[in-house]
Symmetry: D3
Amino acid sequence: MKVLCFGELLLRLSSPGYNRLFQKDSLDATFCGGEANVAVSLSNFGINSEFVTKLPNNDVGMAAEKSLKYFGVNTDKIVYGDGRMGLYYLEKGASQRPSKVIYDRAYSVIAMADKSEFDWNKIFDGVDWFHWTGINPALGDNVAEICELACKAAKSKGIIISCDLNFRKNLWTSKKAQSVMKRLMPYVDVCIANEEDADKVLGIKASDTDVENGELSFSGYKKVAEEICTTYGCEKVAITLRKSYSASRNGWSGLIYDGKTGECVHSTEYDIQIVDRVGGGDSFTAGVIYGIIKRMTDKETVEFAAAASCLKHTVEGDFNRVTVQDVKSLLQNGGNGRVQR
Amino acid sequence: MKVLCFGELLLRLSSPGYNRLFQKDSLDATFCGGEANVAVSLSNFGINSEFVTKLPNNDVGMAAEKSLKYFGVNTDKIVYGDGRMGLYYLEKGASQRPSKVIYDRAYSVIAMADKSEFDWNKIFDGVDWFHWTGINPALGDNVAEICELACKAAKSKGIIISCDLNFRKNLWTSKKAQSVMKRLMPYVDVCIANEEDADKVLGIKASDTDVENGELSFSGYKKVAEEICTTYGCEKVAITLRKSYSASRNGWSGLIYDGKTGECVHSTEYDIQIVDRVGGGDSFTAGVIYGIIKRMTDKETVEFAAAASCLKHTVEGDFNRVTVQDVKSLLQNGGNGRVQR
Amino acid sequence: MKVLCFGELLLRLSSPGYNRLFQKDSLDATFCGGEANVAVSLSNFGINSEFVTKLPNNDVGMAAEKSLKYFGVNTDKIVYGDGRMGLYYLEKGASQRPSKVIYDRAYSVIAMADKSEFDWNKIFDGVDWFHWTGINPALGDNVAEICELACKAAKSKGIIISCDLNFRKNLWTSKKAQSVMKRLMPYVDVCIANEEDADKVLGIKASDTDVENGELSFSGYKKVAEEICTTYGCEKVAITLRKSYSASRNGWSGLIYDGKTGECVHSTEYDIQIVDRVGGGDSFTAGVIYGIIKRMTDKETVEFAAAASCLKHTVEGDFNRVTVQDVKSLLQNGGNGRVQR
Amino acid sequence: MKVLCFGELLLRLSSPGYNRLFQKDSLDATFCGGEANVAVSLSNFGINSEFVTKLPNNDVGMAAEKSLKYFGVNTDKIVYGDGRMGLYYLEKGASQRPSKVIYDRAYSVIAMADKSEFDWNKIFDGVDWFHWTGINPALGDNVAEICELACKAAKSKGIIISCDLNFRKNLWTSKKAQSVMKRLMPYVDVCIANEEDADKVLGIKASDTDVENGELSFSGYKKVAEEICTTYGCEKVAITLRKSYSASRNGWSGLIYDGKTGECVHSTEYDIQIVDRVGGGDSFTAGVIYGIIKRMTDKETVEFAAAASCLKHTVEGDFNRVTVQDVKSLLQNGGNGRVQR
Amino acid sequence: MKVLCFGELLLRLSSPGYNRLFQKDSLDATFCGGEANVAVSLSNFGINSEFVTKLPNNDVGMAAEKSLKYFGVNTDKIVYGDGRMGLYYLEKGASQRPSKVIYDRAYSVIAMADKSEFDWNKIFDGVDWFHWTGINPALGDNVAEICELACKAAKSKGIIISCDLNFRKNLWTSKKAQSVMKRLMPYVDVCIANEEDADKVLGIKASDTDVENGELSFSGYKKVAEEICTTYGCEKVAITLRKSYSASRNGWSGLIYDGKTGECVHSTEYDIQIVDRVGGGDSFTAGVIYGIIKRMTDKETVEFAAAASCLKHTVEGDFNRVTVQDVKSLLQNGGNGRVQR
Amino acid sequence: MKVLCFGELLLRLSSPGYNRLFQKDSLDATFCGGEANVAVSLSNFGINSEFVTKLPNNDVGMAAEKSLKYFGVNTDKIVYGDGRMGLYYLEKGASQRPSKVIYDRAYSVIAMADKSEFDWNKIFDGVDWFHWTGINPALGDNVAEICELACKAAKSKGIIISCDLNFRKNLWTSKKAQSVMKRLMPYVDVCIANEEDADKVLGIKASDTDVENGELSFSGYKKVAEEICTTYGCEKVAITLRKSYSASRNGWSGLIYDGKTGECVHSTEYDIQIVDRVGGGDSFTAGVIYGIIKRMTDKETVEFAAAASCLKHTVEGDFNRVTVQDVKSLLQNGGNGRVQR
């Protein structure tokens, strides 16, 4: 079983500790990206995963590729060319001060890529699952087209397609997102979203939910999932539910809705003291894909995905550096934090 | 509108992270000081601010000045001379272990300055607001006299004068403080204090308050503020209210009392997961000055000041590295800590 | 009054901050060990303490010895020889992610030591108290025998003997532990244990306690202590009670049972925001020894020990870098965390 | 006397120590740029200096501005707008391994600026000297045009104009450079160049010089300077002469040619153990401008500039953090490195 | 063309900068090993390389494997089992103070491996070149036997075998080394050695050479190489020649002797300002293998190998993080260290 | 044999790496002092050494004491009292940029100590050698008097007295130094000096020596030593000879003159690539004392002292962290820097 993820690999430049950006004269420098995070997490779970993107043909691009190889992610089909590495600056929040992301990903080598650079028939050779996110088409019409071509090729080969809606208001407007994504959604078998994505990307709003206040309604989200399945023919919809008490503490859980049975299961909710919450959603997605691949029940899957992504919040960096054993240990022992000797 | 702050600029040598002093063989080295903190915060709010002090004429003094220039604080009138930089060692506390400050500010170049070194008529040219704190006169009778000369010069020019009582038991006794400060208070238009200052510096005690236990009484503080206004003719008194649950978690709010109307307004109380609490009071003071300069209502001012100083607690260092936009964002969105992308 | 501790000195290699092991390419490198932690803590309390072990005769061993000298622990009787330093890798947990310890202490120079290398009659010259832990005999039958010889020599000289049961499942099985420790327990005057030690090491189970869920029963532990005293003739038994809410937050208290009077006193329970919990039990032991040496009542002793070890949790590293004054300050002021200026 | 510098402010992301790029997962992050380096150096010499550029209106741009304010450089006329900060990655070389620069400055906010954004008549108010470099027009035709408008405005106000040719082969070809720079050179009063600039930017080649081999000919360079003065009417030409023995050790000197007298003076040559050589040329330029402003003789000027830039090579970062006193001390005492107590 | 390397993967714990061991309380922690260094360097040259070893089945072992994957080295055939990771402590020298290595590799998981754990017929499937070093058999008779079985299997499949003699006096005596290695040498096609290896491992001494004084004789080494070829039937012998002026500066070159033609070619000698010299020999070996694989002439090969390993000395860590392009650039431009922009 | 050193213990705050002071916002923080450096070095040589001073009774003073205990220096007789820790800021030089020391040691607790605080009869109990330096009396007349009392007490007990002249022009003038030191010199048995001390402190000038130019005359220094012995009755005079080529490279040697025989022996001269030269002279002094105690010949002593202090220059910090074995290894193998495995 091989999962291929496609998207942008970014350089994340984050202020060390709880300093504001450039308060110190160094930045932590790691590579990441919504789709790469999923590929890494799956590889850490023992799944054969591959990542495809376009990188600049210089030391930065090569270091980015190596950062994935480190986790055993297959990178053979990455395309290289002239251009720049997209990046973002991150300032980690604390208590009432929110984390802050400043994108510098415009004009990146992937955002300016041409569809001719990706031969999807070749790329999908031996692939069983294709994962992408709503960030891709937000990078530009060319990338949206590349995504569409990828989806078509995948569909024609019977590959399962999953998509995390992942709305980014700095990359495109809700209106633009809807015009593009409604066209791409019919290819999607497994849809992942958070509390605001469905609204912004698909125009499907959880009626009685107030995101800003962290008030989440399980029944409201079930209806959202149902509507997604009905409208776009998805098999499953998975949604993450985040209660933002502060930048230091979040409530975190997830749900999975099955389009055929209409059943919706909710995971345990974790009360998390946050180390680093960026990549939390991606780690949930990886958990969902893992559960489905391993033929877990939806309940098992959503518990696995919620536990895996709970652990992600306790680890530095975007990548979820946890193994299946780590996740199972949390599921079995609970999060009491006793030292493992 | 130009605000001038006068006081000592100190070198803060703090143990990195949550290590005890000298547990590591390096110290974080930044510059700060009660009045400088206010100048920096105001400059970050876009207010034209200036800082006056005396610094040693060596690389340490020059680096101290540069640390203010970085924030755009005007430093043209800083006096240089032979002598040493005052400093303090800081060990940051956690949970039940309190933060610890060890002063090494005796014999500093400013503590040994002569009144002839400051030509207040020149210094106050173009200044609209003068801010100082009770730390100044605590440095020595010479500095107390310099302060008094400054107050007289400011008063004669119609400059608004604010003072943060800021009692420091390591610098002087309550008795000495009262003998000096009662002489200086009549110059003060806006008085800022915390829960113990009024008692120790002015002998005005909030009847039903137990500082050590963190039990704070709003009505008690209103009476304190009222008495300050009545006794010394202040226009406004602002008080910070800190509930010390532990070194890691504090409740934090403020109030403003108007001497003319007798009205007292209390801010929202923030439950803060602390990153660095030193400079918290100064950031509140800067918020109060900002609110008054911008002709906010007292309620708006105290909410702005409380929010600004809440954010200070989430940032490393004495300086409040937040903008008006950061404060407004907290006031509008609450402190839910959602990532700002 | 001189306390001698015997055991292994280990190199602790811990991942910096909340990074997973080898996520960063550096490791914090400090020395520690259950018995050395007690010796250091006692020395910090002003007690004349000594540490005996065997170290490798290279720069690593010599640095280990120096790390104890730093705190004034007497190291004159440490034995040097060919061999390797035992070590362990530590990954600090956070929230639901537990701390993780990977031992690499097999084949260490002390684990392979011969009984002829320790002349206990000489070593115990001038010593009033001998402390060791259940880790020693777990290192191997040779070390168990060395321990027994030490106990015999100490007993014959009228030296008080304390032992922390300290079960380590990676070093030996519960069955093996019981077979060895039941032989050594009759030498012990003061026995220290945590919630699982008595069960695993002595086969004495607190009937109505569920360690994993953090449910602790005071009455259950009293019975355990009583049984230890009855069976092995101990004078006092001290037990630490940890409620593991998460890797970031623990409830922490202790109790002392007096074998003669049958009285059992429970300390204040601290709700701790954890900085570093490794060495927490050892710091409690040092507090108990200190209280007994200083002829405190059991209530005073357990409060001192609980407060001292509460502070340990707020300090980086295994060693408890707190003074008697620090502990008294917590006992008097509570853990409100007000800045000490 | 006020010197205004115009150019791009860049974020420099350099690998710490002698690690290759991304060998460590952090990068040293400082701001710099050929023209900003000159402004900072002049301010450190006590000269009133100002810097004009366009910056992105986010935390990165604001931190960049603050990094100049730190040194007292006036930044009031900096323009802000939507866009990205230009940056470059730096890997510091050692011994036979050369330093490596990877530019990511395309599409930066200044490279995409419009001429209407800079009102040169206003900007040059009160300015006596205007400095720019050949990097500006290399950023794009729009910036070349902005440069030309600036030169015209400066000329019309009788402002002295200096230009460092600063050829960058990654930004434009020699051919393109010549076509643009030959148009701009007639405005230049003081021209600064290194061993390859005159050739690549102006097509003037030092006949008997082999740059790659570090063979430099004084007489050859005198002819180059003479030709520049003759062709473009410059008053003075200053040239840096670098002998690259290795990435760790360089020979370094400079010369100044006077267009009127035809005299050419050569400075002392320094044999430098390199700490950081980036910004070396800019620090020489600042020394030349300082010498001319202070009405030094050409010999005094070139010695001052060579000594100042020698010191730059011994300091981390692009900025030359040395004072006039530091330079004079080197000129008087030589570089014997005795400790200054 | 696929090269397989077999050996021990070690954890290198080095004191940061030029501090003595444990002067700082952290250690730089990277993975390495004589054979792994070759595999990494070859992979960086674009050669398909694989590494086989036995690792402990815990987070340390898994991180070690990842450190190879990072460079694209194939690790599929690594064996996992209970045990410990071998390690060494490194203190980097400077000037007259030599670097110091303290081994703690006894009892490592590979040193205690059984021959049954390695199925060489499977392992060598698709392999063209097998590289090992004299460190392997020094780990113990079991590993020596594993090596012999590997050589036999390789030979039977027509795989080229290279061996770096790599004498380590802390692992075995010269006498023991000779008894074992003389048995294994007949399998070796390409032999690599340094100035003392041939003497200690094979008893072949360069007559007129004084290693301690750094006096190296080219003709002496030619004779050594000749004797190796004659005695053991090697096709080629490559020797590194190090002139140790100090811990900070070395002369470095290499030679290659061809067993058939009897020709011996000497490379350029580099005068190196050292960043990190550990792994220097391994990087030379990788260069030799690369040259032979790419069918370079011996002169080209030895120049490539010498240049590659010269660059290694300028990079932190054991691994040679340089590409073919980096090496060619040094060969073409010389080591003048001009900035590459 | 027990050596007691008396002097000030200072906090050294040094800028990390080759950054200028406060270029980074942290400072390396270690303790040191001319006399403490000697005590530490002797303890590292296995000599029983003790240090006496007065320290502030706070965490800073206690950490300072611990820094000596770390090396096994006896600190039992250190006096504690109210006051401040003396400190100095250090910026490490490189190439032509000299190291820079900014003292902040005025008003330190020892500089304000009273003679009544030191009971020299008690302090010298069991002591065989007393070492102090010319820095002590430079701290103030009170400390000069304490020194004189110490010398008298030592003399009366037959204790050998050594003194390093150690002139510090920031602490006193040459004139003042001569007036005080000429009074104290008659107590001195072993006098240590560098090239400028004898001139500034005793008015004895090496006729044909030019310190600034690094021109040192062996015969000139022999005469200086001779005159010191003749005038003050010293038994031996040891002089360090430093050739300052740059801040990165020094020539270093020493000589010893015997007052009785009139023989003068010169050590090997080391060409040193400097890591940290502060404390170089103190490490030479410790070597001299060690040689005399161990009854080496003068030639052996001066070679040991020169080699020991050569190694000091290759180690970070003031303390000479080398053992007798390290020194002997340099003497035997020379400084070729071969890795010690």
